[in-house]
């Protein structure tokens, strides 16, 4: 090879690198090992982790669900896994069609007109949605409630402060819901967007969504709604109550928890021209080929994106979460509309049952009296110790809410899904009783 190139050594290929910049040392990184040795070594290290398996009742934005074998099998096909972004659509139709179908499903699930092909996660989708709203209406203030995910609020702040935007947070009412009176007071023509989550971080299904949309729209603001997609198997799609942009996390759609990443940032919106133009991220569209005789798919509206628009792009995002989007698409195909509806309904009824079951214990109470979907806030004395103690019994509950909310130092979350059998729920109750 060197002869063909016409140099005598590999070093000649680096002759333009100043000598003193060349790294001549050895990395203090272990010597190369065989596959077997590496696998064994890492497995040993990973064995120090404890997985709660069917006794994982942790919530707060990441949830334990059953992932059908088909989902893992199909999503890990190497033709999907080891491909790059679809810069040559003719040889990447598979990913493109799958992403197109993902977008369609997200539109149907949320009741919105358009969806992009993914963002990093819920929190960054929220950041992008708020920037998008600012570009659409030229306003810089964001209003939200203290019952939305705390870490998402932190990311929202990081994503918008550098653009001169400011964030105001409205306290929720005593039932843990968005407070309409405060919203009405604080809503003004300076507000770019109002962000609401339903179910919110406390698991509560927000009651007055239509009224909130009305208050926001009356002052010309945009209504951004955060969702967890399985809940939309039961709850009204935000498009029907006036959401302008919908964000959420698709982790629950067949994506393993993986300590919280990678997940899937959902972003959908109205389809007005100004929304389409301001949408961040990649969008796949359908088109034709071969003189209009065949349907094909391609990345479209690229003039919004960084590789063309550079400093004027709608977002800097390039690498996204495409495979997570395909995973979600496979998951939704398996369940179908009927399966998703049944799943959501069964989770909601089981959550109700469990809440009652646990609140019967002496010293245990439901923190908020409001309708819930998949998780709820439990109030007990010494709650952070109770959470820790339950973990030592092999039962994961939480997160403990005192870490973010001083007024909820006596509270933690409990999340329920289809993986929990009656036996698991009884064990949860027993463990909680022991830990009190």
């Amino acid at each position: 090879m060197l002869d063909v190139i016409g140099v005598s050594s590999i070093d000649d290929l680096f002759s333009d690198v100043p000598e003193h910049f060349l790294w001549r040392n050895r990395f203090s990184i272990p010597h190369a090992k065989s596959e077997y040795e590496i696998e064994r070594e890492i497995e040993e290290t990973l064995s120090k982790n404890v997985s709660y398996e069917n006794l994982c009742f942790l919530g707060g934005g990441c949830y334990s669900h059953y992932i059908p074998a088909v989902v893992d099998e199909l999503a890990s096909r190497s033709e999907f896994l080891t491909s790059y972004t679809q810069y040559q659509p003719e040889s990447s139709q598979g990913m493109l069609q799958a992403l197109f179908e993902y977008q369609s499903m997200i539109c149907d699930l949320t009741g919105m007109e358009i969806a992009n092909s993914s963002m990093y996660d819920w929190a960054t989708s929220l950041g992008e949605a708020s920037r998008m709203a600012m570009r659409i209406n030229g306003r810089k203030k964001i209003l939200t409630f203290d019952n939305v995910g705390h870490e998402r609020l932190q990311v929202l702040r990081t994503y918008t402060m550098s653009l001169g935007m400011n964030l105001e947070i409205i306290s929720s009412d005593i039932r843990g819901r968005a407070d309409l009176h405060s919203l009405t007071e604080m809503m003004s023509e300076e507000v770019s967007s109002v962000y609401l989550e339903t179910p919110n971080f406390f698991g509560i299904v927000e009651d007055e969504v239509d009224d909130i949309a009305g208050i926001v729209h009356q002052k010309g603001g945009l209504f951004v709604v955060g969702i967890e997609p399985i809940s939309l198997g039961l709850l009204r799609e935000p498009g029907t109550y006036g959401a302008d942009i919908v964000v959420g996390d698709g982790q629950t759609l067949g994506i393993h928890m993986n300590l919280g990443g990678p997940t899937l940032g959902i972003l959908a919106s109205r389809g007005d021209k100004s929304f389409v133009r301001q949408m961040p991220g990649r969008i796949i569209g359908s088109t034709t080929a071969e003189n209009g005789t065949r349907t094909g798919y391609a990345t479209i509206m690229q003039t919004r994106e960084q590789h063309i628009r550079r400093e004027n792009a709608t977002s800097n995002i390039c690498t996204n979460q495409a495979l997570s989007a395909v995973t979600a698409c496979i998951y939704l195909s398996l369940l179908g509309g009927d399966g998703l509806g049944e799943l959501a309904r069964s989770i909601a009824s089981k959550t109700q049952h469990t809440a009652r079951l646990l609140a019967e214990l002496p010293g245990v109470a439901m923190r908020f009296e409001s309708p819930i979907f998949r998780e709820f806030v439990l109030q007990v004395e010494n709650s952070s110790q109770v959470v820790e103690k339950m973990s030592t019994f092999g039962v994961g509950v939480g997160p403990w809410l005192g870490r973010w909310y001083p007024s909820l130092r006596d509270s933690f979350l409990v999340a329920i899904s289809e993986i929990h059998s009656k036996k698991d729920l009884d064990f949860l109750r027993l463990t909680l009783a022991r830990a009190l």
């Binding site: 404890v50 099998e73 972004t85 369609s104 198997g233 997940t263 007005d272 690498t319 179908g336 509309g337």
Partner: protein, 497 residues
């Protein structure tokens, strides 16, 4: 070349396949059907318009789609600036183990010691490889890290009393993410021109560096595949003006084990683990973009950080970081991707890592030399390519798009086309260290054949690709919002719904 055929299924959309009563998976039944939901009816949805399918239909649908998708495992994928190298299978097996996939981010820290230990070690390996003082694993991708890097520069300048510095210098050859990220971090972008050798034009750099300069974002080797031989001078110009140097790690594969960015004077950098560290790109993501900094900038890294105290074997997450630029994503990072990169590092070991740059640069230079048709020429004089090289098409009739589409017919992937923007009709080729020399020869032969065809039968090129799942797509037709989903609902319909 003529024997390659990509699968071409006439695969309908799922929606057209759905039938009442079908189901692809049975989930546990509702155990408490009589339980009252207490959710008011007006908050419940009326219908879920998703198709109902049987399992075999779903399996065949996605199997067919996968067969219409080119990947590294299908063939050579020398997409410039994307470093599509082989993704080791061991990494995927480990990353999909229940010991990792079943972990919840809010578990008690005592129950996630194994993964925290691995992440902690990974961040130190990456620090060692780049020469940086500390690496945060939080960013999800390169562009994500660039934005964070911008915030770090801002915060640093504010704290040292230089808030008026608000300009970031970016070469005209840079990735589009650089200027876009800089703007989102609150900066103005100032463009630096490239010279005739394809490097940063030193006069241009001097003329735009002012007391407003906050820093410079630079890719090395740059997107022309060339090492910035004046890097020491570039650094001192920017630093004398009080700016910081940001290293875009997209092209680190050319230097891995040979040059450490921190040693060249960079203050901040990001790594694209889905490029340099062989994690699968998943058709666009997820990736991971760890960000590294020099000692004086450590305190600005995003929250949380993974820590360990001397003498204490346990690892923990630290949230109380008052100078941090803040939280940049939910939870901690793309753990599944980070774990794969860790496996890759262990597989190569210190010996293998040192050879990455040499092997990838050798492959690129060899391939460049093997392409001799006059239609392909180098846009720059005196070039000494690193891990990738850029060609420009000198024949007016032959476009980069024609070449790319024709290459697809040979069962290999096209180069990056029309980037960098500084070169007209450009092809950017990055073979990586993973390809056997026979594949480099074959790729060169395909390019030569195309050049020859462009003279002998140009119409044939215009009609390519013929052997992919579908022929050339109508790009204009696709650019209409009505094409973004399988059926279009009007805003007015939606409100009635």
């Amino acid at each position: 070349m003529k024997f390659y055929r990509q699968a071409a299924w006439d695969e309908p959309l799922l929606n057209a396949m759905g039938r009442k009563g079908r189901k692809g998976i049975s989930m546990p039944k509702d155990q408490f059907p009589s339980s009252t939901l207490r959710i008011p009816d007006r908050l419940l949805r009326k219908e879920i318009p998703l198709p109902n399918l049987s399992q075999i239909e779903v399996v065949r649908h996605f199997t067919h789609l996968s067969q219409m998708n080119f990947s590294i495992d299908s063939g050579m994928y020398p997409l410039g600036s994307c470093t599509m190298k082989y993704n080791p299978k061991l990494a995927s097996r480990i990353a999909t183990d229940r010991k990792i996939t079943g972990l919840h981010p809010y578990q008690d820290e005592r129950t996630i010691q194994g993964i925290l230990e691995i992440l902690y070690r990974l961040s130190f390996y990456l620090a060692e490889i780049t020469g940086m003082s500390r690496v945060s694993l939080a960013p999800s991708a390169g562009a994500h890290a660039e934005f964070v890097g911008g915030l770090i520069i801002r915060k640093y300048l504010q704290e040292i009393g230089e808030p008026a510095k608000d300009e970031i210098l970016i070469p005209d050859s840079a990735h589009g993410t650089n200027p876009s990220s800089a703007v989102l971090a609150g900066f103005k972008v100032v463009k630096v021109r490239s010279d005739s050798e394809g490097l940063v034009d030193m006069d241009s750099l001097k003329s735009v560096t002012t007391k407003k300069t906050a820093g410079m974002m630079l890719t090395v080797p740059n997107t022309h595949g060339l090492f910035e031989k004046n890097i020491a001078e570039i650094n001192s110009i920017v630093k004398e003006a009080g700016g910081l140097m940001y290293y875009d790690g997209a092209n680190l594969n050319a230097l891995l084990g040979k040059v450490r960015p921190a040693d060249m004077g960079f203050d901040i950098l990001h790594l694209n683990l889905h490029k340099t560290f062989a994690t699968p790109h998943g058709g666009g993501g997820p990736g991971a973009g760890p960000i590294g900094v020099v000692a004086k900038l450590e305190k600005y890294l995003p929250i949380p950080s993974i820590e360990k105290q001397r003498g204490d074997p346990s690892y923990f997450l630290k949230y109380d970081l008052p100078s941090s630029v803040g939280r940049i994503k939910g939870f901690y990072g793309n753990i599944g991707v980070l774990l794969r990169a860790y496996v890759y590092i262990l597989m190569l070991g210190r010996e293998g890592l040192s050879g990455v740059a040499e092997q990838s640069v050798l492959a690129a230079n060899y391939l460049r030399k093997r392409i001799s048709a006059p239609q392909y020429s180098s846009p720059f004089k005196n070039e000494r390519p690193k891990h990738e090289f850029v060609l420009t098409l000198s024949n007016e009739d032959l476009t980069a798009s024609d070449v790319a589409k024709s290459i697809l017919d040979a069962g290999v992937h096209a180069p990056t086309t029309y980037f960098p923007l500084t070169v007209r009709e450009s092809l950017m080729i990055e073979p990586t260290e993973a390809e056997p020399v026979e594949n480099l020869d074959r790729y060169a032969d395909v390019l030569e054949e195309i050049a020859e065809l462009s003279v002998r039968n140009p119409a044939q090129l215009k009609g390519s690709p013929r052997h992919t799942s579908i022929g050339r797509l109508d790009a204009v037709k696709a650019n209409h919002p009505l094409t973004m989903r399988y059926k279009w609902t009007n805003v007015s319909d939606r409100k009635k719904g």
